[in-house]
């Protein structure tokens, strides 16, 4: 024990003596530790951290339904019909089966209105979770009955704190949500989110929000109406596979007499954490990749410091030789050097933790949804991750060099009286540089692939002029407006918006780009059947006359709609260019007669318009057609208002919301967002990938460059006599530069070759996260490798120039 203290003291003194080295090494490691801690914490929050307030969360499952259809192939739904839920309630392998309907609501009216997200949960929900309230009580079966009276609401701790100032007397207060008044019965425990990826602000009884879906309770028997997500708890002793088999059998039996049975294949049960389930596979996969890449950065940083320590250890050969001569065994020497490394790593760990806490906030905001990022706390798990990263860094960066240095024969050093150069070509050092270069090449190529994917995504013409369009969503009917009042409210908002100097035009639609659209029975007079597209459809949207101009869609042939076209029974239609090509081929679509749904009258095609994206920039070709919005009708409730702005939409958005919010008295919350913000999530994964891979790639490149520099600089110092001899034998300084750069290039080329091989191997797994660029894209491979080679040349140039400046007289001096 005394010996350990002695070694600790020696190590501390050695670390303090070489403060410059210690700080350099600690900063290098801190970059890696910070990256690993920040990213692994995100991964942990996303996939592994068990949800708060849930008892035995590993037994709670989410149901996913699998279907096959000739049109769409195999696909999966996480929302199903209400009858499916009641079927599953009969499963004996599940002790509690709860349904949820997620939606939004306006809290308050007029200028004071805000938007909240809510979950309509069946009575079993909280009991199944085993949750204990923070205040009051949670929802129970009595709240969800048909005769429940004033509906109850349970606030999330976040909403309670941010909106109601953590008012301890909140229980019993009323809450105006849309057109209903709820009574607050309790507050859920802090951090409780039921494992949802985007947790709700409050929970209300399922029946209370189900009425949002329409009058009556048709949803209770309609198997074609998919809107509930189902969660359940496995009964004791039941395995997920057994429960899945039972659930599949129940659903199959329940759907046996329904046309909806066609295509149902099976039920699968996923984890309580939604993000760990199949719907978020891409996002989770990206998070895994990013966390793995942060480990790569840590490995590079550790290899770098190991290299520095090796060089320093060799330079300290005399000190070590003396210690050995004085009786220190190899174990003691290793321990001392290792302890020095551990002290440096500990300092790096503290710095890394700071990087993770401060820099990690921005990172989490970028990668996680706001609610999840906000809830993130620096707790024991984050510390444990940082500690693990620090230990890994300490092991790689100091134990390996300590073993290597102390194993060497140090006797000649003493015989030379310490004048020996101490220089040896170290395969380990060269190997570490090769590894660093290889890992850097992989990261840079990864960054390149994501950048190319993002560029390919951004290059897709979505059809709309997204930067100049605002999308406005409001649900007057939800707030109690009847049909005509809703229609008048939308008309008033259109008028108010048009009067604003920043607005060029306004249009109402039933059906929303990037949101939803419908496919209904469509016939073309004179055609027996319509060609089927693999993307389904054709899809219909009902729009007002200014829609195309507002969205920036050009009318290619014929004419657009006018206000006069807006009738109860539309007589005209417009079609997208894809539909024109796929349905009509060489025939002229203008003048053709569309028979929509059960209509008996023709809707004559009067124009062909540019195609806009239906739901995603990555979608296949979509056949779209448009009818004039009816002056009144069932669709009034789900209208969307689009505004074309005179300048950038984002600059007008802030002024539009209060304008529209007060255009009609008692209007519920009016959500205004730019179309660009609506589109952005489709690019998000690529942007995150490109940014973080790019950032990691840059750090890795810097570290690998430093590593190569340190090896070459050390080599030049150690080889000064040799360089002097070469000069005396006729070498030119430029030749010596070539010699050093050549040494660097040899290591770099070997590392680059390994890196490219690694990138190709890893690329296959990465392929699903890329868009329109193969993982073996030659241009990306060449550019990635080229970038690393240039960095290596730069890193080599300084020691090379130093080599060229070697003074042969000094180098060869014998005394």
């Amino acid at each position: 024990m005394r010996a350990l203290w002695q070694d600790l003291a020696h190590a501390a003194r050695a670390v303090l003596r070489s403060r410059g080295f210690t700080v350099t090494a600690a900063l290098t490691l801190a970059l890696g530790i910070g990256a690993v801690t920040a990213l692994t914490s995100v991964l942990d929050a996303l996939l592994f951290r068990q949800p708060a307030g849930v008892v035995a969360p590993e037994r709670v499952v989410r149901a996913y339904f699998h279907f096959t259809s000739p049109q769409f192939g195999d696909y999966r739904n996480s929302v199903v019909s209400y009858p499916d839920f009641t079927d599953l309630q009969r499963a004996r392998g599940l002790t509690g089966v709860a349904a949820q309907y997620s939606g939004g609501a306006s809290l308050g009216r007029g200028a004071e209105a805000t938007e909240v997200s809510l979950s309509g949960a069946t009575g079993d929900y909280f009991a199944m979770m085993g949750t204990t309230p923070l205040l009051g009580r949670l929802l129970g079966p009595d709240d969800d009955g048909a005769n429940a009276g004033v509906p109850a609401a349970v606030l999330s701790e976040r909403l309670w704190r941010t909106r109601f100032g953590a008012d301890s007397t909140i229980v019993g207060r009323t809450l105006p949500l849309d057109d209903q008044v709820f009574t607050v019965v309790g507050v859920a425990p802090a951090g409780f989110d039921g494992g949802e990826y985007t947790p709700p602000d409050l929970w209300v009884p399922f029946t209370a929000v189900a009425r949002q879906l329409g009058p009556g309770d048709g949803y209770r028997t309609d198997r074609g109406w998919y809107f509930v997500s189902i969660m359940a708890r496995l009964a004791p002793g039941v395995t997920p596979a057994q429960a899945e088999a039972e659930a599949t059998a129940l659903i199959r039996a329940g759907r046996s007499d329904s046309t909806e049975s066609q295509g149902f294949r099976a039920v699968s049960l996923g984890p309580v954490l939604e993000a760990a389930g199949p719907d978020f596979a891409d996002r989770a996969s990206l998070a895994r990749w990013l966390a793995a890449m942060s480990v790569v950065v840590l490995l590079i940083a550790s290899a770098n410091v190991a290299n520095l320590l090796l060089a320093r250890g060799l330079a300290r050969a005399r000190e070590l030789a003396i210690r050995k001569a004085l009786g220190a065994g190899q174990g003691r020497l290793v321990r001392q050097l290792f302890l020095e490394g551990v002290m440096t790593a500990a300092l790096a760990g503290a710095l890394g933790m700071l990087i993770a806490v401060w820099g990690g906030g921005a990172l989490r905001g970028y990668v996680l949804p706001a609610a999840l990022a906000e809830r993130f706390s620096t707790d024991g798990r984050v510390f444990a991750i940082a500690l693990g990263a620090t230990l890994l860094a300490a092991l790689i960066s100091s134990l390996i060099p300590a073993l290597q240095v102390t194993r060497a024969d140090l006797t000649p050093v003493l015989k030379e009286g310490g004048r020996g150069s101490g220089f040896r070509r170290s395969r380990l050092r060269a190997g570490l540089v090769v590894a660093q270069v290889a890992l850097s090449v992989m990261l840079v190529i990864g960054a390149g692939l994501f950048v190319r994917s993002l560029r390919n995504m951004l290059a897709i013409d979505i059809g709309y002029d997204a930067a100049r369009v605002l999308m406005v969503n409001v649900d007057p009917a939800g707030a109690g407006f009847d049909g005509p009042a809703t229609g008048r409210a939308f008309d008033a908002m259109v008028e108010a918006a048009r009067a604003h100097p920043g607005v060029e035009s306004a249009a109402l639609t039933y059906g929303e780009p990037f949101g939803w659209s419908m496919s209904t029975g469509l016939r073309v007079a004179g055609m027996d059947s319509l060609p089927r597209l693999s993307s389904g459809g054709p899809y219909i949207q009902r729009v007002t006359a200014d829609f195309f101009q507002t969205m920036g869609l050009a009318v290619i042939r014929g004419r657009g709609f006018t206000d006069q076209d807006r009738r109860e029974e539309p007589a005209v239609a417009m079609i997208g260019e894809v539909m024109a090509r796929r349905i009509f081929g060489d025939r002229d679509p203008l003048g053709q007669c569309l028979l929509v749904a059960r209509a008996t009258g023709c809707a004559e095609i009067i124009g062909v318009v540019e195609n806009g994206v239906r739901y995603s920039p990555r979608e296949e070709e979509q056949a779209l057609y448009y009818l004039p919005l009816q002056p009144s009708g069932a669709e009034t409730r789900h209208l969307t208002l689009f505004l074309r702005t005179r300048g950038e939409a984002a600059t007008v958005a802030a002024a539009i919301r209060p304008l529209l919010q007060t255009a009609v008295p008692e209007l519920p919350f009016v959500a205004v967002q730019t179309l660009q913000d609506v589109v952005e999530p489709h690019y998000e994964g690529f942007r995150v990938g490109a940014t973080l891979f790019g950032l990691y790639g840059a750090v890795a490149l810097l570290l690998a460059g430093l590593g190569l520099y340190s090896v070459l600089a050390y080599a030049v110092r150690g080889r000064t006599p040799e360089l002097g001899i070469r000069l005396a034998l006729g070498a030119e300084p430029r030749g010596l530069m070539r010699l050093v750069v050549g040494d660097g290039l040899k290591l770099t080329l070997l590392g680059a070759a390994l890196g490219v091989a690694g990138a190709l191997a890893a690329g296959r797994a990465l392929a699903s996260l890329l868009y329109n660029v193969p993982a073996w894209d030659p241009l990306t491979l060449a550019l990635g490798t080229g970038t690393v080679l240039v960095a290596a040349l730069l890193a080599s140039s300084i020691p090379a120039r130093r080599a060229a400046r070697v003074d042969p007289v000094t180098a060869l001096r014998s005394d």
Binding site: A728, P808, V809
Partner: protein
């Protein structure tokens, strides 16, 4: 072959510069074997470095085979040095990571020769110096005398007109030293001009003339005999 006119060399020290060589005037005809002697710090090695063009920071004139070294650009100086001069050092200065044959090849590698030509020359030299059996050995596997023999072989492999030797036998015992000096004598008889720096009077006797330096001044032997 060599003419030095008022060659001076100093290094910056405070408060006044330190003189390493003062007003050296020297003529060495082709084929001469000159010994430079003097106490430590007299400027012997400095003079040798200037003659070998390892040091271009001097004042005065240095003519080699009629070429004004003092006005040559670096590139021209390197070219001239490569074509005329060979070096032998006290510490042998063989490259540790290269075999005997590879060490002999190093200076040829700097002289734009084809590899076949170089291989032939290396083989000839190994034969000439009777070290064929050692061609694949590394310097650390050779005795001091053998290492210096290789160093001399390396110095003359490109047939330099001028061989500069700095204490060539300083690290050898007397028998090995004599063998090396006999080798120098033979090379000189074959036409190589030799300038050696030594402390040994015995080695000095192998040469035609002794130049003595003291405190940077040439005190004896400036003119050819």
């Amino acid at each position: 072959m060599i003419r030095l006119v008022n060659v001076e060399k100093s290094v910056d020290t405070r408060p006044s510069p330190t003189w390493l060589l003062r007003r050296i005037g020297l003529d060495i005809p082709k084929g001469e074997f000159v010994t430079v002697m003097g106490p430590s710090g007299a400027g012997k090695s400095t003079l040798l470095a200037i003659l070998g063009m390892l040091d271009a920071e001097f004042r005065g004139e240095y003519w080699l085979d009629g070429q004004p070294v003092h006005t040559l650009k670096q590139k021209e100086r390197f070219a001239l040095s490569r074509s005329r001069i060979g070096f032998v050092f006290q510490q042998y200065h063989l490259l540790d990571d290269l075999t005997v044959a590879e060490n002999l090849d190093v200076p040829l590698g700097y002289r734009d020769m084809k590899s076949a030509e170089r291989a032939a020359l290396v083989a000839d030299t190994l034969d000439r110096f009777q070290i064929v059996g050692k061609k694949d050995l590394y310097p650390r596997q050779l005795s001091g005398g053998q290492q210096q023999l290789v160093a001399v072989a390396r110095a003359v492999i490109s047939s330099p007109a001028l061989l500069l030797a700095d204490e060539p036998t300083g690290n050898l015992h007397s028998e090995q030293g004599r063998e090396i000096m006999e080798l120098f004598r033979r090379l000189n008889q074959q036409g190589t001009t030799i300038v050696q720096v030594t402390h040994s009077e015995e080695n000095a006797r192998y040469g035609h003339r002794i130049i003595r330096l003291k405190d940077g001044w040439l005190v004896d032997g400036a003119a050819a005999a």
